[in-house]
């Protein structure tokens, strides 16, 4: 069959097909383009009109007392509420535990940072004998890191810092004992930091002759250079002995 025969053959197709093919129009009429847009605008306008009315509707029971409403709500939700409470409690406990662990870790880090800060302050300013002695104690406490955990060391450093503050605030002889027992990391034997401050009226600087530190057992003696670098006229000689000792055994 050649194309001309096929073309002739098509002329015998059903009439409906031929009329449809010759009269059908598929060109989109311009007005149809705007129908969706008009529908959208109408919907927006309708919503704009209805929304304020819905918004202004008053609550159903303005005259009910809070107690009555609460009672009713409680009675209505009695079956489902306990299950929710249990779930919330468990969640809260878990969160608290995590928080505690986080804070412990942070305090340990902070204490280690304080150690460095104390070192820095002591060696750069060195204003008083107390500071130098405290420096020696801090050094001893730092030395114990190898044999103790950082938490114990940090606690000792904190105690020494307290002794330093006390020594600076008075010219009288003072003594004190700080016992460290509460360590977050668990059963660690108690560590006691004993400090003692002696006041004299000599204009000389105090030379720390001995440090008996049970934790690190390190002795620090002030050098002549560090003493001479102090140009401050000290009228009160303060002797501070800070001793950190372990109550039982050697750590």
């Amino acid at each position: 069959m050649n194309p001309n025969d096929f073309a002739d053959l098509l002329n015998d197709l059903p009439d409906e097909m031929i009329v449809s093919a010759n009269t059908a129009t598929y060109k989109r009429r311009p007005i149809r383009i705007y129908i969706p847009a008009a529908a959208a605008c109408a919907a927006v306008l309708l919503a704009a009109v209805l929304y304020p009315k819905l918004h202004m509707q008053s609550p159903e029971r303005l005259d009910s007392t809070p107690e009555a409403v609460m009672t009713e709500i409680t009675s209505q939700t009695e079956l489902t509420e306990p299950a929710l409470t249990v779930t919330q409690t468990v969640t809260t406990a878990t969160a608290a535990s995590r928080t505690e662990q986080t804070e412990t870790a942070q305090s340990t880090v902070t204490a280690a940072g304080s150690t460095t800060a104390l070192h820095t302050t002591a060696f750069t300013t060195a204003r008083t004998v107390t500071t130098r002695q405290t420096t020696a104690t801090v050094t001893a406490a730092s030395a114990s890191v190898t044999s103790h955990s950082e938490t114990v060391t940090a606690a000792a450093v904190t105690a020494v810092s307290e002794a330093q503050k006390t020594a600076l605030s008075t010219t009288e002889a003072t003594t004190g004992t700080i016992e460290l027992t509460d360590f977050p990391e668990g059963p660690v034997e108690p560590v006691t930091v004993v400090w003692e401050t002696a006041a004299t009226d000599s204009g000389e600087f105090f030379h720390n002759e001995e440090e008996n530190c049970g934790i690190g057992a390190e002795t620090t003696t002030d050098t002549a250079e560090s003493i001479e670098s102090e140009e401050t006229t000290t009228t009160t000689e303060t002797t501070t002995t800070v001793t950190a000792t372990e109550t039982e055994g050697s750590l």
């Binding site: 053959l9 197709l13 009439d15 097909m17 031929i18 093919a21 060109k27 989109r28």
Partner: protein, 178 residues
């Protein structure tokens, strides 16, 4: 019906009601407005001579078929003098590609079977694709005109026609007609 009563008013009303459609169909086939106008006049004369005794159930289809036959006759007589090259040759060439290799079968297949097979195939097509196919191969509309009338791009028209031809070829082969 006026034509059955042999009233010339029937031709004027036919011209008024279907003149534009028939003129457009003839113009698609012939590609020349003057030839299309003459083709329409020939078709009206054929209608006048055919009714009666013919009693067409679908008068527009009847009229369109006469217009098309007249246009194809005019086209072929013109092509005998000057061979091809116009847009009207393209649909025939496309159909030749689809029908290639059918010479051996041609003598064994009756025209009626082919028509029924094509009709069945066209009935399976979506209406838009069927109209597109017939506008191209019944009326020989150009791709540009089809793109405009069917709200498609010319490339899309060509692709869709190619797919329809491929499917028709496959369907005819399946029935042993190609």
């Amino acid at each position: 019906m006026l034509l059955q009563r042999r009233e010339e008013q029937a031709l004027r009303e036919t011209e008024q009601q279907y003149g534009a459609l028939c003129r457009s169909a003839a113009l698609d086939i012939l590609g020349n407005a003057q030839d299309a106008e003459e083709c329409l006049n020939d078709a009206l004369l054929t209608v006048w001579n055919s009714i009666p005794p013919a009693e067409p159930e679908n008068y527009p289809a009847f009229l369109l078929k006469i217009v098309r036959n007249a246009a194809l006759d005019r086209l072929r007589s013109r092509q005998r003098g000057k061979r091809g090259g116009g847009q009207q040759d393209a649909p025939l060439e496309e159909l030749a590609g689809m029908l290639s290799g059918s010479e051996d079968v041609e003598q064994q297949v009756e025209r009626r079977e082919m028509l029924e097979a094509v009709t069945r195939f066209l009935e399976t097509l979506p209406k838009k694709q069927r109209d597109l196919f017939l506008r191209r191969y019944w009326r020989f509309s150009s791709a540009a005109d089809l793109a405009r009338d069917f709200d498609m791009t010319e490339n899309h028209v060509q692709v869709m026609l190619s797919r329809i031809r491929s499917r028709l070829r496959k369907a005819l082969r399946k029935e042993g007609l190609l």
